[in-house]
């Protein structure tokens, strides 16, 4: 019974990975324009979160928004790194 469950789990993992691979192959690597659009979305969200930080009066709420700004900043840096690498590698 246990061995069957393990086998089923393994099959599920393999199937998931195969599915992800297929999806990635279908979509292909992101283009520079796509990454730029994603950066723009992060920037727009960033501005909204700044506004939310400024209008919130609860301490915990402000702390939450500032933390979110930090995460968005990280996200922007990651996207910029990917874009620069893509551009350097002659990306689309």
């Amino acid at each position: 019974m246990r061995a069957r469950a393990r086998l089923a789990g393994l099959a599920l993992v393999v199937a998931s990975l195969a599915g992800c691979r297929t999806l990635a192959q279908e979509r292909g690597p992101a283009t520079t324009a796509e990454i730029d659009a994603a950066i723009e979305r992060v920037d727009a969200m960033h501005e909204q979160v700044i506004e939310l930080t400024l209008i919130s009066t609860l301490d915990a709420e402000k702390a939450f928004w500032v933390k979110l700004l930090d995460r968005l900043g990280d996200q922007r840096e990651e996207l910029t790194t990917v874009r620069d690498a893509s551009a350097a590698g002659g990306g689309r």
Binding site: E47, L54, T57, L69, D70, G73
Partner: protein, 324 residues
């Protein structure tokens, strides 16, 4: 000397060494801008609101040589205010030099300004300060008056930059700002609306005036908050809520109009006057510019003033050289 004394002495020396090392390494901690962004275009309504006012009269009051700097003092009339100014130039300069506007800390007085300007002159940089109109947080201003006063302060600083840029001693295309604490917050507003400023060094600054009304250890701001709550018969929390509606000219909001790479951001690690949350908020709003840390508190950061000015000069020169 007993064994215990030797151990105590070693422990003391060890602690001293660790302290010195933390100051040295702390001062050199740098995070460069990894994902700088361009400035958003300034909307017309903001540009109109912060228009450069005319200086209607300038009355020079004397010149004196202080170390390697020559100070020109005087008064000028701007928007009906009679304000004192100081303009410093290096004593030995072969032609025009860059100019950095010095925006001091809220409690900053003449000796601190003089120290900063003198040091900048040693590096061959002209600098100057102009008095703020009124006394921020000292006249029990309403929230609306406080906001208007901030806008007025920024407009007057623009007029002073304009005046300095026209002086023969100054290179009109090499202008910048160095602002400390409240001066850094005013510097952010100024940097957003004054496109001629090529470099902004914002030290111990932060954002969110509303949030700063309660947790700050700055006595003037705290006293102002208490007065306003007493007069209006409201809680500090209620004052905060009202402030978030009234204090619209907020550094975090205007930071988006500043190009990230113009900025050098200096933070004191143990700052309780400008808490980390407010400092981080402005840094994020500016698009994560180059950031340096000082291993001090807000007021003890004065101990690192020379290091801070060195960093400001290096950043400003790099910006000016890149634009040459």
């Amino acid at each position: 000397m007993s064994g215990q004394d030797r151990i105590d002495r070693r422990a003391a020396l060890g602690l001293l060494g660790a302290g010195a090392a933390s100051v040295v390494t702390g001062c050199s901690t740098v995070i460069g801008a990894r994902s700088p962004r361009m400035a958003r275009a300034l909307p017309d309504d903001l540009a109109g609101r912060y228009a450069v006012p005319e200086i209607t009269a300038v009355r020079p009051e004397g010149t004196d040589e202080i170390g390697r700097a020559i100070r020109h003092g005087g008064r000028m009339d701007v928007l009906g205010h009679d304000l004192a100014y100081d303009f410093y130039v290096p004593a030995r300069a072969d032609g025009p030099v860059p100019f950095l506007l010095n925006l001091p800390i809220l409690a900053g007085d003449k000796p601190v300004n003089r120290m900063v300007c003198k040091r900048l002159a040693c590096f061959g940089i002209a600098s100057g300060t102009i008095e703020r109109p009124g006394n921020l947080f000292r006249q029990c201003e309403t929230l609306e008056q406080l906001n208007e006063n901030l806008v007025l302060t920024v407009r007057i600083q623009r007029a002073f930059v304009d005046w300095a840029a026209q002086r023969d001693e100054v290179r009109s295309d090499e202008l910048g700002v160095v602002g400390v604490s409240m001066g850094g917050m005013v510097g952010t507003l100024l940097g957003a609306v004054e496109p001629r400023l090529r470099t902004l060094s914002l030290c111990l600054a932060g954002a969110d005036f509303t949030d700063l009304l309660i947790p700050t250890t700055a006595r003037r701001a705290n006293a102002w908050g208490r007065q306003r709550t007493d007069i209006a018969g409201i809680s500090m929390r209620e004052l905060q809520a009202r402030a978030s509606q009234s204090l619209v000219d907020e550094p975090a909001r205007l930071a988006r109009y500043i190009e990230t790479e113009k900025v050098l951001f200096v933070t004191a690690r143990y700052d309780t006057t400008m808490p980390a949350r407010n400092s981080d908020l402005l840094w994020e709003a500016l698009g994560r510019p180059e950031r340096k840390y000082l291993p001090f508190e807000h007021y003890t950061a004065i101990l690192a003033i020379d290091w801070m000015i060195d960093a400001v000069v290096t950043h400003s020169r790099r910006r000016f050289a890149g634009l040459a």
